[in-house]
Structures are given as structure tokens and as C-alpha cells.
Symmetry: C2
Subunit: 447 residues, 2 copies
């Protein structure tokens, strides 16, 4: 059997050796691909990739992968410190041990591959600096968009482009919940519970539905697209917890779908960085991206719109992205090419772009007010909007219960966030006009 | 001014020098990007790319690009033979001079970038062999999908995947015509004439509407996806000239759209290679790709479906792809990495896949017969289909003109092409049952 397996292995080609930190979902997917597609990869690369070590606290659980003896260890340092290992793959996640081990591996001269968007977005400056200092490659294809090769497309495929904007659905859990709410008219909390039972949402879903996971990914995409420093703290972030079936229905009536978008747009020397529920025209391709699927638009001055679609999570899709980074770095090692740490390589000429404060961002808006007294309400509200330079594109008034709250929906033309907030505060102060919870959703699309 | 322009140029970084053959649409786009995005590219790459020569028979026409003195020449050998030029970009097109000049450049040790799908698909084996022999890189991102980085996605981003299938809309002209026929119920010939007047279709549209251009692109994609030799002659090719507004309307009634698809599918050790009008379920993302836009699905065992969408043609999108290849090769040159000639690098382990003969391909089918005599016709036709192991999924009969031809539409379950052809021949021989032109369209989707 050994003979047959080795049929295509050229004895003169030394394997590139890989160690994995973390044997969870993505770790298992990565290991499975390295083991089961070993011949395929060797055929494509011309040399073998050997999985030498996997470190995890739980090495008793059977993941159903045929690993050699001695591959599994509970000691992470057997991966980071093994002089024989060329590439360390960090799949632990989080900002703690993951960071320390990654830095340790870098200091040991290991090339590093990671799927850890939180770590890169929040502590990436330090990590990329270390990679540059120690002359190692840092691959992070798996940090955004799961199996979609979006990092490669943006950083290499579109290298000739001045990027105008990048926006996308980069969190599968939120998209699953919004899709289910849209298709079945269900409440957020019910769908979330169902998603948790099905394993589509974490026990603590905050990172996903609160928008932080999308903000992490946006931070990385924006750095790559615009050559700006990693700016997680500057991302305006709003999750989907406030979206109601009523808003989804009104959006539909107006010709829109609601998606949680991560948006990075450059204009006039500044970049907008924002994550929030967004109304999109129904006929946009991205509006049809449902369930757990991800999709990312990249608009370059040269290419115009391009779109990248696929599974944004899961063991095998994310493992596929991890292994593509391993293959890239392994080729650099065997070919004698200099290391590449993605972001480090991205510098744009000219004055660097600043971050546009959210107050200065312009957008169209959808408002839903709980209006108390219909006869007066529209003139009062439109008066306040007008005072703040916000002009109305359309209005929906539904129901009629004198003295009770009925929804009043307003779609605006383009307005400045600052003015919108001011107007909303004023309108919310009109206690005889509106009551309870109001809703604001930003709208993308042509005016 | 010179000082300001050179602000970001590090004097210690030698420029990589590029020569372009052909100053037409894509040549102009490529030159414009190299000139106008020079600083941007240098910022991203860390070294400059210099456009040294452009050869074309017509160098008098003003393309509005600020070229240095002496860049333009009518002598192609000033590009292929200049010892100073590192990368030769072939954008002449066609199988004649383009091939000779490309081979000459390769023999001179130049790396080569091309957008010439016809040449690669029909003569690529010779060209890739030459590139390997002379140790030069061969970039062809621009040969498929214009500004969509599909070659990079497939060859590098999805390198960890066993590819199950690749299919897509890879010809913008045909997609524009089908979209217009669908949206406005117009005849093929009328839309074609209009497209020619608008410059969306060539004076001789045969390559586009006849399917050969799609077959060229499919040949390249299939080699990359499945590690098979370039097999243009094995691609079953059928264009869109036979599609009528009636078929589009029937397809719509059945829940489908008609697109010209290029399909490469692997199963049971063989690859199907086919280009033909295809009925696709309306709710597929690709069914919503309209106008001149291109989109390509890649289904890998590991990632599942991924989709890549964008402009498949045009000066700047295709120029963007050309320049991404130039950037890749330039990085190899400056980094001292070995050359890479895409296809040459793709070898799959194990037994190579053979090409499945079209006769053996299985698909669902749509038939439209001009049925003469309704009472008898369905039983006669379904009898013939049954004899040939073709089972019917649905039937539409429209109109009623005793003794005259009315359309009879049949949708089948999965059947073998061989059996379908046999059945169709037999049915067409039933002169008392059907008359005039019948129509057959293959159907993709779940059964």
C-alpha cells in the first residue's frame, strides 16, 4: 500500500512540513484536506506537503482522519518550536493563547497561516509587524469568506485596480437568520433559537448577530483594498437584533431586501467603514444570496463590479482556504521566493486615505416610527426632516387606530448621518407624535 | 514635475520592463493601466513596472494615453527581440502572427502574458511546451472572464479542491442577446443587428453566437480544473442562433431561463465538455446574470459551490487581468522565484480523466415540436421517447388549429444524449405528426 500511495512522490522533492494549532472545526477540515488530498496537492504543486503535528487540548476525540502516529499532541510548543516545521497554522481562535503562540512561531522563523479574523483585526498591526521583522509569510485567506478566495482576488487578482468600494455579506449566521425571517415572517429571537438548535448559531451569538464578526472581516478587507492600517476600532458596527418582520415586510413593499452588510467605500480621500443592516434593491445579485452563503462585491475603477460568492464557514470550505495559503507559502519556500505577508505588501501611493467619521457618512435611510396621531404626524415629522436637510422619497402609512400607534414608514433621499441623528432625536422627543421603538435602516442603491 | 512623479520610486528597485504586441481594445486598456496606475502598482509591488514598447500596425490613432517618446513602433520584433524587455504581452489575437510572435518571444527568454483564448485553446499545447522548455512564465488570466480573476481563483485559490464541475456564462455578446430576447421578446436576428449597431457584437459574430469563443474558454478552464490536456476539439459546441422567443417563453413558463453555458463536469473518471444553450432554474444565482456580464460557478468537493461574477470583456476589465499577470510575473522576476506557466503546473495525481463522448452525456431535455395533429401526436411522440428510455417530466400543449402545426413542449427527466438523438430522428421522420423545425435545449438543475 505504501508503494502505491507514494507512486507520484518524487523522492528528490523534500516535503514542506506543516503543524496545526487547534483541532476544532477548521483544524479538522484542514487536516482532512492535507491527508485525503495529499496526492492531489503533490500533483499540482510538484512536491509534497506533510502534516507533521497537530496540537489540541482534546486529542482523544476521533475526527475520523487517518493521522500518522505521534502527529497529535497536547503541547502547542511541539508545533511552534519544532525546528522541522516550516508552516504553523493557527486555528485556535480568540485573542489570547492564539496570539502568543502565533508570535512565538513567528519569532521561531515559522511562516504562519491563520483563520483568526478577530486577532488580525484587533491585534493585527503587531502581528504583521512581527512577520515583517522575522521575514516570514503570513497567510489569512481563511479569515474572510470561508471557501471564497476573496483575499487572493482582492490582493492579487485585482491588483491593477483603484478600489472604489468593497461590500458584502460576510457573516453566514446573520444571513441565515435574516433569510429565515424574510421567508417565513418569523421574529428574530425565534429564528435565533432555532439556528442555535441546528448548530448554525453559537450558544453566545453576540459576535455574529451583533456585527463584530463582520467588522473584523471588514477591517481586513479594507486594509487590503485601500492600503490603510487595520482600523477595527473605527468601524461603525450595528447588528441585526433590532430588525423586525414588519421592517422586512415594509422593505419588500418598497422593493428592497434587508441584509447585514459590511461596507468599505472610498471617496474624496476618505474611507467609510461600517457594518449595519442594509436595505438593498431586490434585483441586485447580492440580494439573492440567502441562507448561510456569503458574497462580496468588489468595485474597482478598472473592472467595475465583480462579485465573489460561496460558503463563508464550515470545516471543509475554510480548510480549503487554509490549504490554499499553505500551498502558496510552500511554493515560496521551495521556489526560494521572498516571504509575503499580504497586508505588509499592500501600500498605496500618494496620501494615505483617512477614515470618514460615521457622522459624515451619506446614505439613504428607511425610518419606521410608531406614530400616535396620524393627522398631525406626517407634517410634524417631515417638518423636522426638512429642517435637517433630509428630503423624503416615499412614505407608507398603514392601519388606522385613532389614538393608538401605527407604523409610519419613510424612505429618504441621500442625507448625512449627523443630520439624520439630530432629526431622529428631535422626532423621538415629540411625545405626542411618536411612541415606543422607532427603527432606522440605511439603504444602498441608486437614488 | 518629474521629481514629484518619482516621489515613491525607490532608486534601488530596478523596474520590470514590459512590451505589448497589439494596441487595440485590450492593448489600450493594458497600456492605460500601466501608465495611469504606475504609482499605485509600484506602491503595491514595491518596485516599478515600465511600459517600454507597444507594437501595432496603426500607431497614428490617438488612444489618449500619455506614452513616452519611442514607445510606439510598427515593428513587432522591437518588442519580441528587445534584450531589455522582461515580459511580452500578446494582445494581437488570432492564430497567425500572434502565435509566431509569442513563440519568438518565448525562445528569446521573455515571459509572456496573453488574452488570446483561441490561440491557447487551439494551439496551447505547443505554446505551453515552449514556455516550459525555455523556462518562462505564461500568464493567461485575461483569456477567460475578462476582469474576473477566475484563472487565479481556480488554479490557486481552490488548489485544495477536487473540482466536481465548472460552468458559466463566458460570452458577453451571447448573454446580451439572450437577455434582450428574454426581456423584450425579440427575435435573435433583430437583437443581433441591434447589438452590432451598438458595438456589442462583431461584424462577424460567428465566434460569439456560434459558441466557439465559449468553447475556447471552456477548454482552458477544464485543463486547469481537471489537469487534462487542452481539448478544444473534444468540446461539443452549439450556439444560440436556433433559440426563438417562443422557447424562451416556454422555458419561463416551466420556471427556467435560457443561458449559453460552457460546462465541464467530472464524474466516473471522465469529463464532459460542452457549450450549448441551457435551461437553468430561475432561482439560480447565475440565472440572474444578465446583459454582457459573465459568471462562472466552480464546485469543489471541499468548498461546494463558489461563483465569480463580473465584466467578461472590455478594455479596462481585460486590461486589469493582463496587468495582474504582469504583476505576478514581475514579482517572480524580482523575487527570484521559478517561472510558472499555469497549466504546466497543474497535474492531478492518479489516472488522468478521459473526455466523455457527447453521446454518453446525461441531461434533462426540453423539446419543442411543431405538432401537426394534436389528438394522435402526444401518444406517438411519447411512445418513441419511451422506447428510447426517455421519461417525460411535463408537457405543454398550446393553441388548437386542426391540421395546422402547434407547438408541443416536452420536458424530460434525465436521459442519455445518444438515446435522445435516436428518438428525435425517429420523431422527425413521423411526417404526419410533426413538421418544420423542432427544437432541443438541454436542462441543468435538480431533477
Amino acid at each position: 500500500m505504501a508503494k502505491k500511495q507514494n507512486r507520484n512522490i518524487k523522492e528528490d522533492k523534500k516535503p514542506v512540513k506543516v503543524g496545526i494549532l487547534g483541532f476544532g472545526t477548521v483544524g479538522s477540515g484542514t487536516a482532512r484536506i492535507l491527508v485525503e488530498n495529499r496526492e492531489l496537492l503533490e500533483g499540482r504543486l510538484g512536491f509534497p506537503i506533510a502534516l507533521k503535528k497537530i496540537a489540541d487540548l482534546n486529542i482523544r476525540k476521533d475526527r475520523g482522519i487517518a493521522l500518522g502516529k505521534g502527529v497529535l499532541t497536547t503541547d502547542a510548543l511541539q508545533v511552534t518550536d519544532d525546528p522541522d516545521i516550516d508552516i504553523v497554522v493557527e486555528l485556535i481562535g480568540g485573542l489570547g493563547a492564539a496570539k502568543e503562540l502565533m508570535l512565538r512561531a513567528i519569532r521561531n522563523g515559522k511562516h504562519v497561516v491563520t483563520a483568526n479574523k478577530a486577532l488580525l483585526a484587533e491585534r493585527g498591526r503587531e502581528i504583521f509587524a512581527a512577520a515583517r521583522k522575522y521575514g516570514v509569510s503570513l497567510g489569512f485567506e481563511a479569515s474572510v469568506g470561508g471557501g471564497i478566495p476573496i483575499i487572493k482576488a482582492l490582493g492579487e487578482g485585482l491588483i491593477a485596480n483603484r478600489i472604489n468600494y468593497v461590500y458584502g455579506i460576510v457573516n453566514g449566521t446573520s444571513n441565515y437568520i435574516l433569510t429565515k425571517m424574510t421567508d417565513e415572517g418569523m421574529e428574530f429571537s425565534k429564528v435565533l433559537k432555532e439556528a442555535q438548535e441546528l448548530g448554525y448559531a453559537e450558544a453566545d451569538p453576540t459576535l455574529d448577530v451583533g456585527g463584530a464578526d463582520s467588522a473584523h472581516k471588514l477591517t481586513i478587507l479594507a486594509s487590503l483594498a485601500f492600503g490603510i492600517p487595520l482600523s477595527y476600532k473605527s468601524v461603525y458596527t450595528e447588528g441585526i437584533t433590532g430588525i423586525t418582520p414588519a421592517d422586512i415586510a415594509f422593505a419588500s413593499e418598497l422593493g428592497f431586501k434587508i441584509k447585514l452588510l459590511a461596507i468599505a467605500k472610498a471617496a474624496d480621500g476618505q474611507v467609510e467603514l461600517r457594518v449595519h443592516p442594509t436595505m438593498l434593491p431586490k434585483d441586485y445579485l447580492i440580494s439573492k444570496v440567502d441562507g448561510v452563503m456569503n458574497a462580496i462585491y468588489v468595485n474597482g475603477r478598472e473592472t467595475g463590479d465583480t462579485l465573489y460568492y460561496g460558503r463563508g464557514a464550515g470545516d471543509m470550505p475554510t480548510g480549503s482556504a487554509v490549504v490554499s495559503d499553505i500551498a502558496d507559502i510552500a511554493q515560496r519556500i521551495t521556489g526560494g521566493a521572498p516571504p509575503k505577508s499580504g497586508l505588509a505588501a499592500v501600500k498605496t501611493a500618494g496620501t494615505p486615505l483617512g477614515i470618514r467619521p460615521m457622522d459624515e457618512v451619506e446614505s439613504m435611510y428607511y425610518f419606521r416610527f410608531a406614530a400616535l396621531d396620524r393627522p398631525k404626524v406626517l407634517s410634524r415629522i417631515s417638518g423636522v426632516l426638512g429642517e435637517n436637510n433630509i428630503s423624503i422619497a416615499s412614505v407608507i402609512q398603514k392601519g388606522r387606530k385613532e389614538g393608538e400607534a401605527v407604523p409610519l414608514v419613510i424612505l429618504t433621499h441621500k442625507a448625512k448621518e449627523k443630520n439624520v441623528r439630530k432629526a431622529i432625536r428631535k422626532i423621538e422627543g415629540l411625545r405626542a407624535v411618536v411612541t415606543g421603538k422607532n427603527c432606522l435602516i440605511r439603504v444602498e442603491g441608486e437614488e
